[in-house]
Symmetry: C2
Subunit: 673 residues, 2 copies
């Protein structure tokens, strides 16, 4: 008999296999991923991940690291399958976690350390470190944040002082707040760090630079002057070794300054980066942000896969309340109210898919510009940077916030089960939580977007690409709820109006305060709203454009999902921004009901498109089989708390002190009568 | 030198001590609580709770249970201090967790098991079980939810069959989905359960009843026919032993049927509860809900205390961006944007304080009604029940949701630190999470409120008490943002309009569908909105009424907090409900800026009013001292992951397989040159 899931997919008019091919770019690539999945499935190290939840943190960390190394080996050996040279290469959208189902500090090694070498190293430096990093001969951390400073990167205190006599740099952290704090892979794994430090040469502060510092020796012991460790247990990311680092008089060769854009010659002569490249040091962060937007889509896809499977399995609530249990119970997915909470999340998933693809393409283009320039860095055309900057920051800020809220809403829809680790979704929420914070939370991120938008208003940034709409005009009011183009144009109008209005307010505020900075601080709430309106418009726009690319059979439902997403978001933003009237709100409410109904039959085809296996979902409430309750009970029985020794000693040492043994014995005897 | 916190309090115009007395009812009671706190502070078992985070779950559970028993002893010995006969008696607003800083299954024993005996037992039954339960001679669980059924309590499958030959009841769980699943204290502690089961007598199904079942014997081993254990690790409530239970042919005396309202005589003659008391079996749940609304206030108070302390300690962002570090950095609490995220949470805290007090008073009144009736249960006047029912359900639904969202927003405002367990706030969020789910999540809860509201519309429930506004009319539009009464009247109008509109829609929908039930299902989203509007109005109303009771010096700031809360909520609800125009939205935006500024100087006096000590906050980022960074580093170093053995074996078994020892050694040597 087909499982609950197979029944759902069979009844759908949308072909989930076609969608899988689409989301994995092609049939071939999809099948390659399936082959890789099978290799992981066959490896004993990846079996029964549901038991991980019974382990102590130390045991979990160790297992996750072992799996990370094993994954590295498997992916390296099978690099032809996906055309990957290493677990991260050429494959931004599919991190190692896709296959391992768990994560460890190697993720940061690939995504931050390797990227920094590639982006900021000279050809010689790349030759020196990159192959070793890709082979895990060295493992690195990206060490920027300090105990005293996260958002305010301009106040970091670590210094690298040039010592002419030995032609080396001496790295120091002069205060406790200067300790590096948070870098991933630092706690246990890293042999090296790409470290943010102020460069001091001949008493002159040359600002922030990145230097390569070895931290641990061949026995993996900290080098002299290095104090390093894990920062302790966290609410999620249990298996990640976020670390602390204190450096005192640690000497590194001058040539360890990453020098693609600026150089320090022997003797201390310093060549500044060309002016237009001053901020290119932040490219690693920008790339990381793009990865985070992809990642937002990935996490939400996984969360949705779990939640929708369970919602299609779980039955709760009588079909006919008079008939009671005899009339059967509804799948919770068939409750309109649950649909209204869950279906917009599938819309968000699609919006993020098309938007992150767009962002990744922008980044690729810029990478090509840099590559083409070669050694002639002066010739790099940086005109794309503002757009890349604004879009990645905004999508990071609002994409991650929406995904976290969405995952949590999905989790809640699972009722009590969503709260146990057996559900899978609980751990996903916890692991996702820091995504809204790291690389900067929604405030610094969104304000960066606002700054570029104001630049565009002021004519300092060209009104092209994603700013092109600022050169247009008009603010159509919502007249029809069934017309994709019209809905996009409403969003365009909202975004433009928000940018223009806030721009004007800031102008007057600056005149009043006689200070650009005070005006900025006084208007941060509005500046955020403006960045939000702009970014949501981008999401809506990319989603609408993407619709036409989908397999023909999937387009009608995808269009309903688009409308659901774009219309419900319209209700969510403050009325000051949306300009929505109560009667427009009512029209949306009515339409939402119809949309939910239209979407329902095909929804599982969409949530199954990312093609997670039972093993990678690691969710006992979402297995593709009908014995889900049996699985939950079986898992519970394996819990360490259920070992007889545990409860025996608890009874002996604690409970027996107050429990009334005599009464319990008597009463027991009595009930046997 | 005064600490950062002492400085804040000294600079405030509001006297935090006066507020403390107010929130603890009186100076005397506040001081009694302080004395109790000191007793716990002095007990070694409660020291250094920050180290709990390093323990395995089994160790944490054991420690929490030991602390629960110790707390029981301390509170019993010092019962005169608070006039408490047991840790829970007469003191709904101050659970044991207030003092222990941790929780265990005993919480459920007190709040659910004991309450059920008191509420549903006959005088004889109460005499038999209550003293033993209060002395922990027996420990109990409240076992309602089953693996297959949570929200739909009408579909529970456990049966208790009357066996005439032995004059006993035989309890059975016929299917896997009938297993009890989730009850707190069941996993490890409970000797007894008050169990929800369908009563079958002579082949007749008499519906749900509560029976007392002994589960474990004098050695704390499961009795024959009993299978019991912990359901496994969860994302929060780590130290709670939520359990599973399977019963097969477990025989209990007929007299174990809780029989205050209905009786089963020897031979099987059954006396039904008087009609108006049919639903009184749910009183335990209603009381639990009231506790949950108090608890929402308690959790938020604790979270706010942590977050505001850290925000007053942490500095991030230059005062003057040109001057850079030389010009100093701002407290993050001084960033307008952070204020806009955090200050409304203090408003919510006050709203919950006054609302839960109101709710507790309602409950007390009804308890007196029942008490007065004595054995003559027919004479119980149940006219208060609909109000108690609707208000407690609505406040549970929306209060817990707002508090969870608020705690999480506060946590995010701590940046990265909010993510580590050292912060305290991380654990609070996790432990709070299930509060939105248990006893029923916002959907069944809010729909109960809607049902009573529709009853009031239809004239089946009197329009008195919190429904009195439905008998009035009018819908004032927001004209002034500075007038408390006007703002309340706007909320009243919104609530009334929502109830009337949805009532009308449902009426027409029922005619269209020719079925009340289909109309209900088709309109659940609207029904929720209606319950939300009603409940928010209640919160706003109780808050406004409470203002005048506060100490005179605190009233001006409290009034600003009221306006901030009531106005920002107005923006948050959908425009269809608020009827807000864009220009009213702008007026609120402007006012919010002024409100934040006015509130800022006194805010810490409010967040400190609940008087948590450093120990009970258990937050290393919120200690009342200026060496917070030192404390974080010190804690991290104690983490098990930083034991040399751990990283040595990790290196030997895993890392050394790929790391390039030769390169690491050479390079290390080179940098020493
Ligand atoms: C799991 C995790 C992994 C991480 N990995 C790395 C890593 O690999 N490498 C690395 O270098 N770092 C890493 N980080 C650090 C991360 O980048 C920082 O946590 C982040 O930048 C926020 O800084 P903070 O924690 O110091 O928060 P803070 O800067 O202290 O911010 C606290 C609050 O104040 C607000 N705030 C701060 N300044 C302003 C302002 N000017 N105006 C208004 N509001 C303001 C913030 O929005 C926030 O709400 C990691 C963090 C986490 C949680
Ligand atoms: C930490 C914790 C402690 C608990 N302690 C106890 C305890 O001590 N004793 C006890 O008996 N129970 C306890 N419970 C169980 C708790 O009361 C249930 O989890 C709760 O009632 C929800 O039921 P469920 O988990 O079965 O969710 P479900 O009923 O399966 O609900 C799943 C989802 O479907 C939705 N849904 C269900 N029915 C409908 C409908 N008709 N219309 C629309 N939507 C619907 C729900 O809103 C939810 O989003 C506890 C639970 C937790 C998490």
């Amino acid at each position: 008999m087909p499982t609950y899931l197979e029944q759902e997919l069979a009844a759908a008019k949308v072909d989930h296999l076609e969608l899988k091919h689409f989301f994995y770019d092609s049939k071939e690539r999809y099948e390659a991923v399936q082959k890789l999945d099978a290799l992981f499935d066959a490896d004993p190290l990846f079996q029964n991940p549901e038991n991980d939840h019974f382990l102590s943190r130390s045991e979990q960390v160790r297992l996750a690291i072992e799996r990370g190394f094993r994954a590295h080996a498997i992916l390296k050996k099978n690099r032809d399958l996906l055309g990957m040279h290493s677990p991260m290469h050429g494959d931004g959208g599919m991190p190692v976690g896709r296959f391992t189902g768990s994560m460890c500090g190697l993720t940061d090694h690939y995504a931050l350390f390797v990227q920094t070498i590639m982006g900021q190293g000279t050809p010689e430096q790349i030759r020196e470190w990159l192959p070793k990093a890709l082979n895990l001969e060295i493992i690195g951390t990206y060490a920027q944040t300090e105990l005293g400073h996260g958002s305010n990167v301009r106040a970091l205190e670590t210094v690298a002082t040039y010592d002419e006599t030995t032609d080396s740099l001496v790295v120091n952290m002069p205060t406790i707040t200067a300790m590096k704090w948070w870098p991933g892979a630092l706690g246990l794994l890293a042999t090296h760090a790409v470290l943010h430090a102020r460069l001091l040469v001949k008493g002159k502060d040359l600002g922030y630079h990145t230097v390569m510092v070895q931290l641990r020796d061949e026995h993996h012991k900290p080098l002299a002057g290095v104090e390093v460790g894990d920062i302790g247990p966290k609410m999620g990311g249990t298996t990640m070794d976020a670390g602390y680092l204190s450096l005192h008089n640690v000497r590194i060769p001058r040539t360890n300054l990453l020098a693609k854009f600026q150089q320090l010659a022997k003797g201390g002569e310093y060549t500044r980066a060309p002016k237009q490249l001053a901020k290119i040091g932040y490219m690693t962060m920008m790339k990381a942000r793009v990865t985070l937007v992809w990642g937002a889509m990935g996490y939400l896809s996984k969360g949705n896969a779990i939640v929708f499977r369970y919602a299609a399995f779980r039955r709760q609530g009588f079909v006919d309340s008079k008939a009671g249990i005899a009339g059967g119970e509804k799948k919770i997915l068939d409750h309109v109210i649950l649909q209204s909470r869950l279906f917009p999340l599938v819309g968000l998933q699609l919006a993020l898919f098309f938007s992150s693809r767009h962002l990744a393409n922008l980044l690729k283009k810029f990478d090509e510009v840099v590559k083409k320039a070669g050694k002639d860095i002066e010739s790099i055309d940086t005109s794309m940077l503002p757009e890349l900057h604004a879009t990645s920051a905004g999508m990071k800020a609002f994409g991650t916030e929406m995904v976290l809220a969405g995952l949590e809403e999905g989790r809640k829809c699972c009722g009590g089960q969503g709260f146990t680790y057996s559900s899978g979704i609980a751990r996903i929420v916890l692991d996702y939580i820091p995504n809204v914070t790291f690389e900067g939370d929604r405030i610094p991120m969104a304000l960066q977007t606002s700054r570029v938008l104001l630049g565009a208003l002021a004519g300092k940034v060209p009104k092209t690409g994603s700013f092109a709409y600022l050169a247009r005009s008009g603010r159509p009011s919502l007249r029809r709820v069934d017309d994709v183009e019209h809905i996009v144009s409403v969003w365009e109008g909202i975004a433009r109006n928000a940018v223009n209005t806030v721009g004007r307010q800031l102008y007057f505020s600056a005149r009043k305060h006689k200070s650009q900075e005070k005006a900025w601080e006084a208007n941060t709430v509005r500046l955020l709203t403006m960045a939000q309106a702009h970014t949501l418009y981008q999401f809506v726009d990319h989603f609408a454009l993407g619709l036409k690319e989908l397999p023909a059979k999937a387009q009608p439902t995808a269009t309903l999902l688009f409308r659901l997403f774009a219309l419900t978001k319209l209700i969510e933003i403050p009325v000051v921004v949306s300009g929505l009237t109560a009667s427009q709100g009512q029209a949306i409410d009515r339409e939402v009901k119809a949309l939910l109904k239209g979407i329902r039959p095909n929804i599982l085809a969409f949530t199954e498109a990312p093609a997670f296996s039972d093993r990678t979902l690691n969710s006992l409430i979402a297995r593709n089989s009908d014995d889900i309750y049996e699985g939950l009970v079986d898992w519970a029985k394996r819990s360490p708390l259920n070992k007889p020794e545990f409860s025996e000693s608890l009874h002996k040492d604690v409970l027996s002190k107050t429990l009334n043994a005599k009464y319990l014995a008597e009463n027991n005897a009595r009930s046997k009568l």
